[in-house]
Symmetry: D2
Amino acid sequence: MHESEHPGQTSPDPADPADLDTRIPTLGPAKIPNPRKNSLFVDDEQGVSVNILRTVHGKAPRTAVMEQAGPRSHIYFDPPKTKCAVVTCGGLCPGINDVIRSIVMEAHHGYKVSSVLGVRYGLAGFIPKNDPDVVDLTPSYVADIHEFGGTVLGTSRGPQDPQDVVDALERLNVGVLFMLGGVGTMRAARAIHEVIARRSLRIAIVCIPKTVDNDIHYVSRTFGFDTAVEKAIEAIRCAHIEALGVPYGIGVVKLMGRESGFIAAAAALSIKEVNFVLVPEQAFVLDGPGGFLPELESRLRRRGHAVVAVAEGAGQHLLPQSGLTDASGNTVLGDICGLLLSRIKSHFKDVLPVTVKYIDPSYIIRSVPAGAADRAHCNMLGAMAVHAGMAGKTGLMVSPLHEVPAHIPLPLVTAGRRQMDLQSSFWQQVMDSTGQSQPKSC
Amino acid sequence: MHESEHPGQTSPDPADPADLDTRIPTLGPAKIPNPRKNSLFVDDEQGVSVNILRTVHGKAPRTAVMEQAGPRSHIYFDPPKTKCAVVTCGGLCPGINDVIRSIVMEAHHGYKVSSVLGVRYGLAGFIPKNDPDVVDLTPSYVADIHEFGGTVLGTSRGPQDPQDVVDALERLNVGVLFMLGGVGTMRAARAIHEVIARRSLRIAIVCIPKTVDNDIHYVSRTFGFDTAVEKAIEAIRCAHIEALGVPYGIGVVKLMGRESGFIAAAAALSIKEVNFVLVPEQAFVLDGPGGFLPELESRLRRRGHAVVAVAEGAGQHLLPQSGLTDASGNTVLGDICGLLLSRIKSHFKDVLPVTVKYIDPSYIIRSVPAGAADRAHCNMLGAMAVHAGMAGKTGLMVSPLHEVPAHIPLPLVTAGRRQMDLQSSFWQQVMDSTGQSQPKSC
Amino acid sequence: MHESEHPGQTSPDPADPADLDTRIPTLGPAKIPNPRKNSLFVDDEQGVSVNILRTVHGKAPRTAVMEQAGPRSHIYFDPPKTKCAVVTCGGLCPGINDVIRSIVMEAHHGYKVSSVLGVRYGLAGFIPKNDPDVVDLTPSYVADIHEFGGTVLGTSRGPQDPQDVVDALERLNVGVLFMLGGVGTMRAARAIHEVIARRSLRIAIVCIPKTVDNDIHYVSRTFGFDTAVEKAIEAIRCAHIEALGVPYGIGVVKLMGRESGFIAAAAALSIKEVNFVLVPEQAFVLDGPGGFLPELESRLRRRGHAVVAVAEGAGQHLLPQSGLTDASGNTVLGDICGLLLSRIKSHFKDVLPVTVKYIDPSYIIRSVPAGAADRAHCNMLGAMAVHAGMAGKTGLMVSPLHEVPAHIPLPLVTAGRRQMDLQSSFWQQVMDSTGQSQPKSC
Amino acid sequence: MHESEHPGQTSPDPADPADLDTRIPTLGPAKIPNPRKNSLFVDDEQGVSVNILRTVHGKAPRTAVMEQAGPRSHIYFDPPKTKCAVVTCGGLCPGINDVIRSIVMEAHHGYKVSSVLGVRYGLAGFIPKNDPDVVDLTPSYVADIHEFGGTVLGTSRGPQDPQDVVDALERLNVGVLFMLGGVGTMRAARAIHEVIARRSLRIAIVCIPKTVDNDIHYVSRTFGFDTAVEKAIEAIRCAHIEALGVPYGIGVVKLMGRESGFIAAAAALSIKEVNFVLVPEQAFVLDGPGGFLPELESRLRRRGHAVVAVAEGAGQHLLPQSGLTDASGNTVLGDICGLLLSRIKSHFKDVLPVTVKYIDPSYIIRSVPAGAADRAHCNMLGAMAVHAGMAGKTGLMVSPLHEVPAHIPLPLVTAGRRQMDLQSSFWQQVMDSTGQSQPKSC
């Protein structure tokens, strides 16, 4: 039995959940009464089980418990004396502006902090040589930003020296820094948190997981994911229409997913026209019995058209490795779609008169405004992050765990990336939906 | 501490979860090997905890466990000899056709049943005097239906004599009946299940919760809910634009929600332009300090415009009760929006030159095709229902519990309707988002 | 042969086009070189024929010619000394913000005028007792407004004393006033223009036709119309799905169109699910042979469902006349949909068990942002209006005539409202599309 | 003065319009009364002026007149004995299924022809060796096809031997063939028409212009164009958001337009975020004063981000010519976007740290269902084509001319491709909207 199995979130998390250290660091005692009126406060003792699966008749398993997120009755930072800051890192994702807006609205209206600064263009915005430009994020500044995709703050990839970042935080007199980013950003956050601890500063670091790949441990579903899948299926529908429009038409759609194929898989569950889903989690062979090309040929002979959804990180074992990394420290991926297009062409030459239509909708998927469900999610994350930060909690990520807003310590998140469990019901459903046989592994 | 607290699904469920009888009735031993190839099978012993909240340092609470859904290694019904049937009841909701399609595809491709019948126009389609018309739901018949809203089968309200329904099931030689509907439909399903049991028939009744109101116990989020909220916020955005376009503009949007205000609340969390959310869970006063009208006036004086989202079942205490019920047995609701429009007019006469724009988008919300997240959800529900039915399980509903597909016995579902918990973090977030003070209760 | 017959624009215009006085008043000679660089200038002698229909072999008919719009090589107003103002009047319509933005961008970037003022809430914003609030419309203020529906300036209905308006224009030192509105607004513009002329002031009045009803003479297609039809068909599709979902389902959709049924007709041409289009241009009977109710019954008996699109001004002959007018001076319309719903109910009682679903999407249609085609249209109108105003032209409306941007003198526009020609190919197509027989007239 | 100047359709047509031979060939006298009831018939003498521009005070210019389209009172083909056929050729375009549906509905319901055949996969579907597969296009077959993009018939590129096509038409006993395609298809239609004439057959060839590039002479606006622009601006908005999200971000969007840049130009008029439009009509230089790269650099230094919309056929003079042609006989275009991306990279190396995001939305643009305005347009075209064909008219294209449905003889259409007139008001508006100076020509 695997620790967690959910539609859209099916990866086993890395360690035995019963032994996890789920304690959240704090800057000190929270002695100031929370200024929020009529608020329902959450107690630090309230938690949510990490492992919720068990046998029907057996004993409850041991499991770790994560602290619930929410406003605390007493807080650490004195709001009128507290400056917050927000920074957005890594690639675009639907909903970033919603989170920024929610942080600003909660900090201003809920707590009445003195100000919220917006750091421009990611962690690079903290570095003096970049001549950084800091925005005063007032409620009126952020009022309409959620109607636009992207991030009003701008973003960049790659870490910066945590000493420099902490220097800047001190210089700007920031009490709580909210960082939006993926696993790379969380690692940077951890390093910044450690420098702060070493310098005994009173600065809280609160992370909000942002990755359209949905590849963060203990995060059921990252914000923007549903919107991304919605846009992905628009592209897939077009690929299907194109494939139908010609004899032996093949539509190939490249989707995001460097190490985890969640978008491709969820899209295939949502739109029934996908016949093959290729994901990083599953190495596959191109030729020979059970290989992708013979299976594709078989599909084309039976039905006359086919749609292939390819996560960008799929099939890396088939490609020469560049050994290069990008500014974020990610391996530069080999061009799996280029390989597939070329191999499809050579495979079907003199076999079937196929026509291939290739669609890469990546930038269209990640830069749209968030849909409704993602908006509510973003709103919640922003508010929960402010509650955590004002209470003096630090070195953590806020995220729903089994749909309950929770505090996750950064070390549990930075160990690796969440991937789909190929033994899960979720992946089984994907295989059923595509009618794809489990592709032959290498 | 409440039993379950989730964004979008915050109601306390009715009983002490540790004492629930979560056993699922079966028609008999499942001895036939499941014909699905390469399938990952779920064991009847695999379960999911009902209560997942606990104290961080205390002991795990006692909790009931629901059986996980999924394909079983052995099944009860012999597929080539088995006919299935599908019936859709109650109001429209985005995604019904997706569920129908998923049932048909799983039954045909996964199990190769002999046929799947579609019963027209709800339970009325079983009744001989209605000259019922049954459709043969083949894979090609359902191939594209998910691109259309509504239900290809048609629907109707209201129960029918369960004896008549079971007569029809026998006459049609149906082995598994899939019923899509809300709490009323579940009650009918229970009655049908009991007649079947009394007659010792080998017919399984498997329910799939369908209600755009999201008001079913043990259902985290009903299918179509996200899509409905997405459409609701389009209407709210228009109301906001209309309100902004004139001095002292007030936009009033009526949303679905007879006994539970989930749509109105989730919409208010998604779009930040809602200033007042009126829901059935919270009785409110119109006049006097803290009343709705003075609060609205105060908002208008401060900001010059306002948006009010009203669940159709809100404020029933302010209206004369008709005592009537509709065909579904639901109380005919009083016209809260009519009352509000009239009281707003009289309140502001000679006070402020307000302009009210009223939008009732109900039929536009419920009849659109499902969005991507709902599609994946529908796909899963249909497949899980087929797995349950083929395994001989009966008298149950399939639904995700804490995002894990599970089997819920019908008696746990038919006891009442799920409502929002006004003491939950979810409602707190709604109050924060609107800036609304907790309206003064009666 | 009728004077003008176009898809979407089929009304005969009122007078013999050869005798029209198409001259545009000017404030004086245009002596200042146009500061626009690299611009292609339009000469005052360039025109476009009003009547473009003729016999294939006969002589060209006499026809009036309208002046083409566009930048002139020399202008009347000295840009650095010129203030412009914009006012938006009447109901909302998709694209108003696009027009405002285009005016501001052209005035600032093309001509470098000293400023563009935005008058709040329609003509009422000129009246001292309303404590009017004028906005400085800078390029950065308007940069993103086109992403939002409605009007950033606000609007109001009803005329104001033209003397007061001209007083305000003098006080504000406005050189060119751009007025967006329908026929009522054009009449107000004419009155203002006459006061200006009597006072020998150097103020140009340039109108841009804004009416979602598309009921303005010499205007092929008002901006926002295509977007409105796009939203209308969304509502109609929902009505169709609702009607299909129950036995003998009837979907009734109310659409805008006080005196002209263009939206309902164009929607019926775009979506094929409309079975009956009821418009103001055609009086119809409810009962008896060829009447609406027997035709509806016949349709229901044949096909089991029906969709009716009703322009709000249809069937007024069937209703008691209130004799009231609204703030815009428009007759308060009788509630045709209320009548239809009630008469449908009584007609089918004991005849067929019909279910009626009624949708009024009006505020959703008119308050959305404009679609692409309307955006380009708005952009053109705003620029053309600025060109006309800076050249000292006044008392005119800018609009495409047979797709060529042109100047139309206000007196030609204010005489009445454009209606659909029931003898046109356009209406014939509508009848063909619905399968509706020409409803029996009174 | 140029012959025709319209928003979106600004190219001068090739010849002096007064000398055009606008006569439409016919198969013989139309003696059979049109079976359409209550129809408004159009007379062959009714025409529409080709040139509608003139001087305001001068004489009306000589101009050719095109025959108006519409149902004739008498027809040539006896409907119950007449088979029609439809074939779709070339690339996908929004609205093809709407046209097919309209043809089928008009032929069946308006004229009650014996049948309408659908030829699969373009002209190749007529060729025996392809084992062609002909579909019976009944009203129920086409009832819902307009909800899907693409063409239910499939398509292919390239001509076939017209003798073979006519052989097939004789074998299938087709009376009227409706051909949807671009200029290449019109040329094929002309050749087929000539073979029919030489064989003295009674087969009418009626074309409907289908090209998303909008590059057909005498066609104001091809169907699907508005929808394509709507989708294009979605991609451009994403490119803008991506460009804003990083320092010195450049978004490059490739749009369709082999020889004519209408889509790129219309998109730039609709969405104001485009800073450079590169089109085939205008050769430009990359380097040196006024060149694209220095202008881009200047924009980036001023504003920090830029969006470039590139028609696929732009800048071919900068690329080596392959000399190859595709199956449609079109020159294989050089990869202008590849060149631009490479030259941008080299230009800014060591100059500015630019980030380029490249979006190619082509297949997403052309395969979506049509928007409302295009739907009405398609509906009209299909009906007009049937009216023309049943009346025995042949060798023609139906299309609106100045918004009036008209018959255009094929020789006037096949001479070349319509391009934007760089001296037109339309292009001037595009230049104004982008703020782009007229790029320096070679």
